[in-house]
């Protein structure tokens, strides 16, 4: 994994023009991000219902058709990006933050504390992600906040384990032992010497993890555990329109396509970055 590439190969990788798949993924991500930041640029009111125009197919006026309440599906998909992505991002931020903290603790403390924390990760990782999130929601109640925390906690071991493993390597590195010999304080040692050097793989990992978090969030809100109607969240939209699938495919297929496109784009770009940057250190 950590083999350093010969220099010319690395340069070739960096300079090679992006493949079409990656370019497409980048375009999708850019569009999605714009939808998150400025949804009204593309779309109108996602809650405006028109009961006289329900379940109408895609047309020039309604690009993605209308749903069971006569709301414009395109408007809802665009506004839904903010709901779905912000849940995914917030959950990933929690998971990464707590993961780094716990991973550092496990890697730097003595043997027994490391054992306790690491077995804790194992226990968390032993449950499927969705099950763990469901368990948390059962305890904390439904709603956007508990959905975010649930996914954050459930995906935390993913990052914590990597940070712990990196910490164990870095703490033995000559520059750390030298810093100890020079009498650096514990805080300075961790913040200045250990932390920056264990974070390398985290951004790429988080990017791939973000896709998973968005998918799980959509899945849980499909089950009615996330934002409540009439919020235009992608998973909730799928859930509400699935009863009409055989007469109005657009109301569920298009929000579903939005989830799929976003998650695939995140993963494609994440993997691409991973292949480019992995092993650049050391």
């Amino acid at each position: 994994m950590t083999l350093a590439l010969p220099r010319p190969v690395a340069r070739r990788l960096i300079l090679r023009p992006p493949r079409p798949g990656i370019a497409a993924a980048a375009v999708v991500l850019a569009l999605t991000l714009t939808a998150v930041v400025w949804p009204s640029l593309f779309a109108g009111d996602p809650l405006a219902a028109d009961p006289l125009h329900v379940l109408e197919g895609p047309s020039a006026q309604h690009w993605f058709g209308t749903d069971q309440l006569g709301r414009d599906v395109f408007d809802r998909v665009v506004h839904g990006a903010r709901h779905s992505l912000s849940i995914g991002v917030a959950a990933t931020v929690i998971a990464v933050g707590a993961g780094i903290l716990l991973g550092l603790c496990a890697g730097l403390t003595h043997k027994y504390a490391d054992e306790v924390i690491s077995r804790g990760f194992d226990a968390l990782a032993a449950f499927p992600l969705v099950l763990l999130a469901l368990l948390f929601i059962a305890i904390a109640g439904t709603g956007t906040t508990s959905l975010i925390v649930a996914i954050g906690v459930a995906t935390l071991p993913h990052y914590a384990r990597v940070v712990r493993a990196q910490t164990l390597i870095v703490r033995q590195a000559p520059y750390v032992t030298h810093a100890v010999a020079f009498g650096a304080s514990r805080g300075r040692l961790v913040l200045r010497h250990v932390l920056p050097n264990v974070l390398g793989p985290i951004p790429v990992l988080a990017m791939i993890g973000l896709g998973e978090a968005i998918l799980v969030a959509a899945g849980l809100s499909f089950l009615g555990l996330g934002p409540q109607p009439p919020s235009p969240e992608w998973g909730a939209m799928l859930s509400e329109s699935r009863g009409y699938l055989h007469i109005a495919w657009w109301a569920s297929v298009l929000p579903g396509a939005a989830v799929t496109a976003t998650v695939i784009s995140l993963t494609v770009i994440g993997r691409h970055l991973q292949s480019r940057f992995e092993g650049r250190h050391q």
Binding site: A48, P51, L52, V54, L69, Q228, Y244, I247
Partner: protein, 543 residues
């Protein structure tokens, strides 16, 4: 109310649909003459919260009750009473004593004989505290005692005249359960296989969340005259599968996994009528209309202007067209349009005037708007809460609520929050008064029972919090008189008071049942008067 016998009604409907939908072709083949035997699977929308008929509360569970239980009386198509387990009854001239003669040839499926003592045991069971306070407070409010005159004669003594006694004795709550089961059942209120009845089928297996299974009662030979035939049921066994999702039910029917479904959503009706192998039937329910009741106990609905404004803010016709594709019958009163007490003069007297709604709200002081466009008063948003109880959601009432939510927001800036909760949570919200809108429809065969429960000051589901001595008196009059004209007069005044004068209620639609079945099935129909799907007694499978 003009309804022919169920089988004939379905046949007529099938013919009408055939004529309407498939001009020139033969259309739905009929299942021929009744044959005995076979095993039928029927997919239903609602899993009952109880199998004890005395605890019956879901109109969608009524078709299950009459498979294994029976009452003293039943209804004919004209809304009158006909004998079932009773052979007849007499009323004393003062209207306070009802003497019932009972059949002598009836036994419960556990071998216990059905007699006057059994009837007394059943009615006395309601006196047990907490058993069913709703029925005790309305239908049995004026019951003084039940006396056993001889083995086949039972006498009901009332403290004052009350016609709802007959409705009770023909309702699922008045169904007869074996006295042995009443004594010995470990979980009486939940019911199930351990409760024996006299019906044409015996409930022998219940798998929570999946299905309930009935087998034929071979000894059955006491069908009422209104039933299509006599003797044991045609089917050997019938299984009801609980399929909550309408698309799953329709899929199960079209793929042949089940032979009958109920709860066909309006959006799927075209799929059924286009399929020549399938037949669609529809019956309007009796009882109260599906309505939103406003909680007048606290702000904002303690102000009649806000109640009126909410009602004006909703364009009910547009909402129903959107959600039900024009197949729903709009309700204008708290009583459904099939009831003999329905007040037709209320039609088109209110609703759908957004300008008026906004004027009323401005006048009531809700004139400011917040960033999201909702009205506010003293910094507080005009929020009203509707809590839906999941086991009672049918006919896409959750989607309907969202449509109303969007309407009141767009037209008047009212924030209607809709929560779907499990039954316990919903009951708690109602008990704590943590709601402003309460939704309900009742399928009582006598709408008077529904009105007494919903509107009297002490009514156990009086969720409006509205208490008025005059209204109580009118409801009392309606319940006491045997004279249909007097009852009509009383109930028309009730409707005018609660709909026009007080604006306590936003009636939405008249509940209806849609059933669909394959062409191998015969005898599927609706229960006379109640308008809900009938039991499996008349149903047969041609192969």
């Amino acid at each position: 109310m003009r309804r022919t016998r169920p089988a004939a009604a379905v046949l007529a409907l099938a013919l009408a649909l055939t004529a309407a939908c498939s001009s020139g072709t033969t259309g739905a083949a009929d299942a021929g003459q009744p044959v005995s035997g076979g095993s039928l699977t029927w997919a239903i929308e609602t899993e009952p919260i109880t199998f004890n008929p005395h605890q019956y509360a879901q109109a969608k569970a009524r078709l299950l009750v009459w498979n294994s239980f029976e009452a003293l009386l039943t209804h004919d198509a004209q809304g009158g009473y006909v004998p079932w387990l009773a052979t007849g009854y007499e009323v004393s001239p003062d209207g306070k004593t009802y003497t019932f003669k009972l059949r002598t040839d009836v036994t419960f499926s556990d071998g216990t004989k059905f007699d006057a003592a059994a009837v007394k045991a059943n009615v006395d069971q309601f006196q047990v505290e907490g058993y069913n306070p709703q029925v005790l407070a309305v239908q049995l409010r004026n019951l003084a005692s039940v006396e056993v005159a001889d083995a086949s004669t039972v006498v009901f003594k009332l403290t004052q005249p009350d016609v709802l006694l007959l409705d009770f004795l023909s309702s699922p709550q008045g169904a007869q359960v074996s006295p042995k089961s009443l004594k010995e059942a470990r979980n009486l209120k939940a019911g199930g296989p351990e409760l024996a009845g006299t019906g044409p089928f015996i409930l022998d297996r219940y798998t929570a969340g999946q299905e309930v299974h009935f087998t034929r009662n071979p000894a059955y030979n006491w069908a009422p005259a209104t039933a299509g035939h006599s003797g044991p049921a045609y089917l050997d066994e019938v299984t009801y599968r609980f399929l909550k999702e309408s698309s799953v039910r329709v899929g199960a029917l079209t793929s042949g996994q089940v032979q009958v479904i109920e709860g066909v959503p309006a959006t799927d009706e075209a799929l059924i009528t286009a399929n020549k192998q399938l037949t669609l039937g529809r019956g309007l329910n009796s009882g109260s209309a599906f309505s939103y009741y406003f909680n007048t106990a606290h702000a904002p609905f303690d102000d009649i202007r806000v109640r009126r404004a909410f009602r004006e803010a909703v364009d009910v016709d547009a909402v129903l067209t959107g959600v039900y594709r024009g197949s729903a019958t709009r309700a204008w009163s708290v009583i459904g349009p099939t009831s003999p007490f329905y007040d037709k003069t209320l039609e088109k007297t209110y609703g759908g005037d957004a300008a008026e709604a906004n004027r009323l709200l401005d006048e009531a002081g809700w004139s400011a708007r917040d960033a999201e466009g909702f009205r506010t008063k003293d910094g507080k948003r005009l929020t009203v809460r509707l809590v839906q109880s999941a086991p009672f959601i049918r006919d896409r009432r959750d989607v309907l609520a969202q449509a109303v939510q969007a309407q009141v927001k767009q037209s008047a800036g009212i924030d209607l929050t809709v929560t779907v909760a499990d039954q316990g949570t919903a009951a708690k919200a109602l008990a704590d008064g943590a709601y402003e809108v309460f939704e309900n429809s009742r399928a009582d065969t006598d709408a008077g029972a529904a009105l007494s429960l919903l509107l009297t000051s002490t009514g156990s589901i009086n969720r409006t919090g509205f208490k008025d001595a005059g209204l109580d008196r009118l409801l009392q009059d309606g319940q006491a008189s045997t004279d249909q004209a007097k009852r009509l007069a009383a109930y028309q005044q009730v409707q005018k008071l609660v709909i026009t004068d007080q604006a306590l209620i936003l009636p939405l639609y008249a509940p209806a049942d849609q059933i669909a079945f394959g062409n191998t099935v015969g005898g599927v129909g609706f229960e006379p008067t109640a308008g809900v799907p009938g039991s499996a007694y008349n149903v047969w499978l041609s192969k």
